[in-house]
Symmetry: D2
Subunit: 380 residues, 4 copies
């Protein structure tokens, strides 16, 4: 039986453009779908770069104007891997054109933008998903299974942090290709939207809604040369962002993100402590899940280091044999696979735009709290 | 040359009484002093228990009334290892009697009590010290050396947590021997004074004063049977306590303590991130210090796991050979050794009552902030 | 400029067939070559399976007779991913047909087979390589760089083990698809050729030739049902294989492989101790390299856990950003990339058939020593 | 009720003399016995050193002639902490004098010496024990419990190593105080008797007798200045010693000891793999035991890191609270406690001289095999 085509138009050929393109190509090698992805066009401001991306990844054509991409009727799905300041306009236009949409995180630069985007896709009724890829690391998905099975019991604590160290140098400029994450106009915020957003997405998926937050942010380096203007300009992003929170289920939480934690490259860790069991995970060793089960016999009880590479663990029946790890990019492969599976089942793949809006509401609350010095509600 | 005697009177024969008595006996086996400790008397409410402690540890006599202990003129130093609610009265009386004083932490049940205690010892001019023993774990002392040498550069982040899980059971009673830490009247607070106080003491020693805090506390189990009354009574302590902080040096911090973190017995961890280097330590593997030096050659740079058992590392020339670890009680041995060394040099051993007051001011601020929902100043 | 084609014919569509096909497709996405691989044909005994593999991975055609594959003149390179007993005949025929050859490890079922294969490719003068993929794990390649730079000084010790636990169950049959590794007629040996061969290849690459060996083998489960005959038959393979060795550089070594180490899925570890520095690596955390440099300042010296994910570390400039790990299959991508780079430079990519023969000479010596109870020479 | 005295005479005031003296003093503080140890005399060649040891640890008197010590009738037990070459004569004389004997390991410099010692104590019928202290690390004792309960099932593999790096420097002399372990005349052998003996003692306690061995030894640095003669002399000890073994229960083993493993201070590790479960332990983190139970639910199965600090774990009810570790010297405290408990129960405390002889028989076989190049039997 011939497969249905999912004709893809990608906006953005940077780091995330590569990760998405890889997912489109790899998913059908390892998973079975009724759909077959077809890489129709990649769109980017620089035609040469777009053509290079197309040649390397197998896109049939290029565009330099995203509206032109959306106007094409040989495209079913628009994948947004452009900088944050372009998410809203592209997504709304794509929705209005009836395209399915996959969008890089964070959804908008703030919750107001995200609300417009949610309204647009829901009005259009198009499948939509946001690339919070860490949900699809097998160890994290396994954590979700464990929690859903009730193994943890009543939850007391959640803690997450995302620590990096790549912006400590004072002579690192802001703005432009590769560095737009330091430009508040483009990014919307600093680590709050970039890193905390990941922590919050996973946290609410695992532990439910957040009630309120008390935030603390800092910009350690106040001025940096701006690559686009050539001038030394005030840095508008938050370099570090921490918050305390209460979840609706009564548990307490601590969150932190920074790009000034010397020695940590991308140390996203999460831990959840329940009455009966606890779980820890760490992106630096992404193929492991640490699990403590108080039900184990006392004398031989201890944290279990689960090497999540077996066929009965999430997604791992698709890859190699026990003991052989997969890596970072596989989380995107899994998410795209889940999107296709969702299409076939006519069910949304998570997180939807609406789920991602909930995260943006929390990040907005964190930033507001950091300004007001008050606890702020974190629900719409 | 004959050694000077340091004649010791101990109040309290519980967990801490044992740890202190061990320190008094072990220090002279491994260190060299002009002073020789003499275990003169142990004091406790139950005469049989006091006598048993005396017999086991070699105290020459017992008392059941602490005032009688203080009134004895064959005692130079009063060591307070009684529950928190007795610290103030004993310390003030001892100071007035001109005794040197060593006091278990926290100093008072709150900063007001501690202020009176500080006033008393400073008026009396007696040597005084508080048993914040974790400063004397060799790995922690090494951390202090590294920081003092400037290896870290500008500090961006400090984070500490102290996680336990021993009070999760709902049928655990409060109050009485072994459980007075759950009785707010005796303890003053819950994990804030018991566990966070340790974290704060170390943090301010390593990273300087804390400017202000935003706190969050919770009592997960609202009522427990009280061992002394036999009634189910409201629980007054905080089961969990978290706070964000700004240090005076501009660094940001996150602190957390709880007795509801399933899987953690006494997981006191601390981490400090500087411009050039970072440090991590963990009480569960207390003989190791993790150290990241950005100055290492890039390709072979990584967190170093330092096995702190060599003769050139703090205190370790007194013990065994490289590779052979010491344990928890040695931190008390070291602190008592430092006290004696301080006496000989006529210099205070740290932390003094005044240092410990600074910690109580922070814990008060945390508890107040948890009530007001505001950031609160953490300095006197 | 148009790229040159490298037209590939693959024999075998099992586990290794997938790993190789993935490498052919992924390498050009991440590396830049003058050559462009073209997946021309896949060959396997079962036509349906071959067609499924072709459809999934993009091969243009299928064959069911490997000689037919070799006879085709639209193929430049024969990749052998068939069971061990077919390596020799295919390789020799391919060499005689003037094809380049990539062959799964071990090269032959024993050194005699391998010698014939080496003679054939060297006589034909065709590029040839054996898939000892673990050399191309970035952490292992980094170890090689460190050693080549002389950072270790005189070498005293080498130790390696490869521990698995997948054949402990007595009711696991031998023979046939997926289980031919238990059939000595097909595999040639048990863990000696399957697992120790990997350890030996890496060891000789890092530490030079092995002088002599003392071996010990065991077959714990003596009889298993044979899938192809339906009968319970004697097990001919070695379940476990250990040996001591002297390297030509004077260092001592210990090697071990087994499929009966409960709790280990694919724990390939290696360690090398030199006068100035030491290195450890572990396949279960393949993205890390542990490194100890005695030249570090004494008090803060410790094993460094290097997270090998930075752009200045081997191969990692091709993938993501610091902190984001790659996985198992990437080692094949790297090896194929090195093969293409070698072609362009007209230099052999390592290990060649001749290099792999040296490994088979060692494994033969281990098996012989296990029989004779004597030390056996490990060089040709 | 008055306690019985156990009047102790110690020979040797070095590293082990301190460890034993500490045990004599600490055991009664933490354990309850009918016996009360009394430190009667310490004996050493240098009177000043002996007096210093006596003053520090509380011995009432000193001797400089061990025969004089044995001749005293106010001593019940002779503890031998002198260098290896003195063990035999002292032990035999002490036995003939009817003294109980505790002896540092290894028992003799070789099995022949040990046989004479065993004969002497058995003829005299005196309680005797050898200080193989690592059996009494709580985690190791827990391993023994787990094995005795049958949790592992059929055993397939045992592996142990003891890695140090303190003799790599070529200018380290041999002989004399602190360095007699490098003098073959005094020590009997190098790492074989010093380090491998520990590994073998634990191994046979946990896994039963060893059948035969194939050994490999090396002396990396052939000549060193001798401290006692002032001359550069041939080094007679083995710097490294490895062997393969078969246990009588059919399991295979690999052992290794060296003082040339850069980065390891005293890394004694052991691992045992059974059909149902496996165990690992590591002296560098002596308070942990790693345990893998294949019976755990598959998806959440992993190595458990057991923090052996709870009251239901061996010896730990005597010390602090969960999470608070003890260290190296506590293993001696436990062994002395077991000796006293054995006395009270009129049962031998393990290992006896006869048990320790079995270890020396294995070490002799290893050294012989290293010479002959043959497998050698390891039983008497």
């Amino acid at each position: 039986m011939a497969k249905k085509k999912l004709r893809i138009g990608l906006v953005g050929y940077g780091f995330m453009g590569r990760a998405h393109s890889n997912a489109f190509l790899q998913a059908p090698r390892y998973f079975d779908f009724d759909y077959e992805p077809e890489l129709v066009a990649v769109c980017g401001r620089d035609k040469g770069n777009a053509e290079a991306h197309a040649a390397r990844w197998g896109y049939s054509s290029v565009e330099t104007d995203w509206q032109a991409l959306i106007d094409r009727d040989d495209i079913d799905m628009i994948d947004i891997a452009a900088p944050n300041d372009m998410h809203k306009d592209i997504a709304i236009a794509a929705a209005e054109a009836g395209k399915m949409i996959m969008c890089e995180k964070p959804l908008g630069r703030n919750a107001d933008e995200s609300r417009e985007m949610v309204a647009a896709v829901e009005k259009a009724g198009v499948p939509n998903m946001v690339w919070y890829n860490y949900r699809r690391i097998p160890a994290v998905t396994l954590a979700k299974q464990i929690i859903d099975e009730g193994k943890l019991g009543r939850i007391f604590h959640y803690r997450a942090k995302f620590l990096q160290d790549w912006t400590i140098a004072e002579d690192l400029p802001q703005g432009g290709a590769g560095l737009w994450r330091l430009d508040v106009g483009v990014a919307g915020s600093g680590v709050t939207g970039d890193l905390l957003a990941h922590c919050i997405d996973t946290a609410m998926w695992l532990n439910g809604p957040i009630e309120n937050v008390s935030g603390l942010t800092e910009t350690f380096i106040k001025e940096r040369m701006h690559n686009l203007t050539g001038n030394v300009e005030k840095v508008g992003i938050d370099d570090a962002s921490l918050f305390l929170a209460r979840f609706q289920n009564g548990s307490l939480a601590s969150f932190e993100a920074t790009r000034y934690a010397r020695g940590h490259k991308a140390l996203y860790t999460l831990e959840i402590n329940g009455e009966h069991a606890s779980i820890m995970w760490d992106l630096h060793d992404l193929h492991r899940l640490d699990y403590f089960d108080h039900g184990d016999e006392g004398r031989v009880r201890g944290w279990r280091s689960i090497h999540v590479t077996d066929g009965d663990q999430p997604y791992m029946d698709k890859w190699w044999v026990p003991g052989l790890a997969i890596g970072y990019e596989h989380s995107f492969v899994h998410q795209f696979a889940d999107f296709l599976t969702g299409l076939e089942a006519n069910e949304p793949a998570l997180p939807t735009f609406r789920d991602a809006l909930a995260t943006d509401i929390v990040t907005d609350a964190v930033l507001k709290s950091a300004e007001t010095g008050q606890w702020e509600p974190a629900t719409a």
